[in-house]
């Protein structure tokens, strides 16, 4: 008999009430051996979290804790440009991507064999690893030998620009387009699954009431999809803020370091220039944007979980 059972049976005088209370607070209604098992089952994850999340986070905070670092960072022209790029990249990239995904998920609801076939092809950018995809786009956008300019020249007779080599805005636009190309299929599939779980009766009822087309979307589909759309947009904003591959492989931060975003600038400062503290500071300067998003998202995810 372990002591918890003994205590409950009241056979022996137990430890002082305060100890008992404290122990009950920790164990809840669990009996002794079960509590031990529950803790033992949690140990691997707790160890993983402490060693590879908590420690690096604390270490990062310590590396970037000096205010002087931020003064140095803000005074750099590269950093200022990077902040503008990051804001543009996230604002344009996420909204175009999510809106496109919302529209295309409606298109993929059509019951035609060729629409289903197209969906299989359409998810290919998401299914393939990021690196080959972006490396291919990088070469495709080469001003002299790239496929895109070859197509423009051979079919339309237009002499295309050097997409990644000449102007900051062309390069940034290319990066945003590549990001959308890679990630829109994923969000389309998510929103498609969301649309499919809307009960068909609602549409039938709307049909009887004479709602078609746009009104059907505004009054039936969108109100039901809004929560999912918001969660997806928040999640996508955070992921896009941390997106390293698109910029690193498509434009490489060029031309002349003008298209870096915070994620790539941090890595550049830390590993190419050898200033890890500056790199951490660059990444940390995204926190004022990150933290509210994360709090909002956690709240949304938790309430959604409850409703499941």
């Amino acid at each position: 008999m372990d002591d918890a059972q003994v205590l409950r049976a009241g056979v022996l005088p137990g430890p002082s009430p305060s100890v008992r209370l404290r122990r009950r607070a920790w164990r809840g209604s669990l009996q002794g051996s079960e509590f031990t098992w529950a803790v033992a089952f949690l140990i691997p994850y707790a160890a993983l979290f402490l060693a590879f999340v908590a420690y690096p986070v604390a270490y990062g905070l310590w590396l970037g804790h000096k205010p002087a670092l931020y003064a140095e960072l803000v005074s750099e022209p590269i950093y200022q440009r990077t902040v503008v790029n990051t804001v543009l990249y996230v604002a344009i990239g996420v909204n175009l991507k999510m809106f496109g995904a919302l529209l295309l998920s409606g298109f993929f609801m059509r019951r035609r064999w060729w629409v289903r076939g197209l969906l299989l092809v359409y998810v290919l950018p998401w299914a393939m690893p990021a690196l080959p995809a972006f490396v291919s786009i990088h070469w495709m956008l080469n001003g002299q030998w790239g496929l895109l300019n070859n197509i423009l020249w051979n079919i339309f007779g237009i002499d295309g620009p050097g997409w990644l080599e000449t102007s900051r805005w062309l390069a940034l636009g290319s990066v945003i387009a590549s990001h959308i190309w890679k990630w829109m299929p994923f969000w389309t599939v998510i929103l498609l699954a969301g649309r499919m779980s809307i009960p068909q009766e609602l549409y039938e009822a709307a049909d009887v009431d004479g709602a078609t087309g746009l009104r059907r979307f505004l009054h039936v589909t969108f109100p039901l999809l809004a929560n999912l759309y918001l969660i997806c947009t928040l999640l996508s904003t955070i992921f896009t803020l941390g997106d390293f591959n698109s910029v690193y492989f498509v434009s490489g931060g060029g031309p002349a370091l003008s298209t870096h975003v915070l994620a790539t600038l941090g890595i550049r400062d830390a590993f190419e220039i050898g200033r890890p503290d500056l790199g951490v500071a660059a990444v940390m300067s995204a926190l004022p944007l990150m933290v509210p998003l994360v709090i909002l998202l956690m709240r949304k995810l938790r309430t959604t979980e409850v409703q499941l």
Partner: protein, 296 residues
């Protein structure tokens, strides 16, 4: 003909309706063509460059003049100095992937069993910590992570990459396992407990078998994450013998002569396994992500 007004109205409406239907159909078809071109151009690019013989990469053609499989043969036989360890690196990638899957499933299922089934108090703290890790972008943690791995003495070791991938895959695993676990009645556990089963017996005999679909979904996710991830592998692995395929592939970019056709052929060989796995497990990949969000 007895009621011409009604008849006339009906006859008058029908062609209009048909016209509108075929117009929508045409618009849908046009959209389909645009989506198809948008999706396929970069993929077409990767294929044609891979099919070009060495030296033909710098052309202005939009299809290869003399397509050949030479580049693939070079990759498979490791016939170029950048590719001399290709199969070894492929093995490294596979090793990282399999180890990540096993560890993610073990750690994730144990933790969610403890939180969701034994219902340990303050378990929500753990699942919140996991959720928080899930939403923190990995690239933001890369710099301190790299330093920490040096402190642990794991630099240039495949296990440092495995640790990183498991760290980022497990939160998702816990999230999905908890969502899925709700659908398994807790009465099963209680009945087993009354019959004298210990938690570890319940875990192995009841929990794991019933969780099989979620295990498959999360396992696929972890495998693809580990196989596709680039940044941590690039930062943590530096020697040719410890490199994984994506790191070796990105090395091409730094070379002066840039053998683009070999690079694209390598990229295709590297991309084929995850694409095949993706199409095989397609239905299960998104299930957990929707999370009944429309119900709100």
């Amino acid at each position: 003909m007895t009621a011409p007004s009604i008849d006339g109205k009906l006859v008058g409406r029908r062609p209009n309706y048909r016209l509108r239907r075929s117009l929508t159909e045409a618009a849908a078809l046009a959209l389909a063509v645009v989506v198809l071109i948008w999706t396929l151009v970069p993929i077409y690019n990767i294929v044609i460059v891979a099919l070009e013989p060495h030296g033909d990469v710098f052309t202005n053609d939009i299809w290869p003049a003399n397509p050949s499989l030479e580049s693939f043969w070079i990759v498979v036989t490791e016939g170029y100095w950048y590719l001399e360890h290709f199969w070894h690196q492929f093995g490294n990638s596979l090793y990282v992937g399999v180890a990540t899957v096993i560890l993610t499933l073990v750690i994730g299922s144990l933790a969610s069993f403890s939180i969701g089934r034994i219902r340990i108090r303050y378990g929500w703290l753990v699942s919140n910590a996991a959720l928080l890790t899930y939403v923190i972008p990995a690239s933001f943690l890369a710099i301190p992570f790299y330093r920490i791995m040096h402190i642990y003495g794991l630099s240039n070791n495949l296990w440092s990459v495995i640790a990183a991938e498991v760290t980022f895959a497990t939160p998702y695993a816990i999230f999905i396992f908890q969502q899925y676990g709700v659908s398994i009645p807790i009465e099963l556990d209680e009945a087993a407990r009354i019959d004298g089963a210990s938690p570890i017996q319940i875990y192995f005999r009841i929990y794991l078998p019933l969780m099989a679909p979620a295990l498959v979904a999360v396992g696929t996710y972890a495998l693809l994450l580990a196989w596709n991830e680039y940044l941590y592998q690039f930062l943590l692995l530096s020697s040719k013998s410890s490199m994984t395929v994506p790191v070796a592939l990105a090395q091409f970019l730094n070379s002066d002569e840039a053998p683009w056709n070999y690079m694209m052929a390598t990229a295709i060989v590297y991309a084929l396994p995850p694409v095949a796995i993706y199409y095989a497990f397609r239905g299960r990949m998104t299930a957990g992500l929707v999370m009944g969000g429309v119900k709100g």
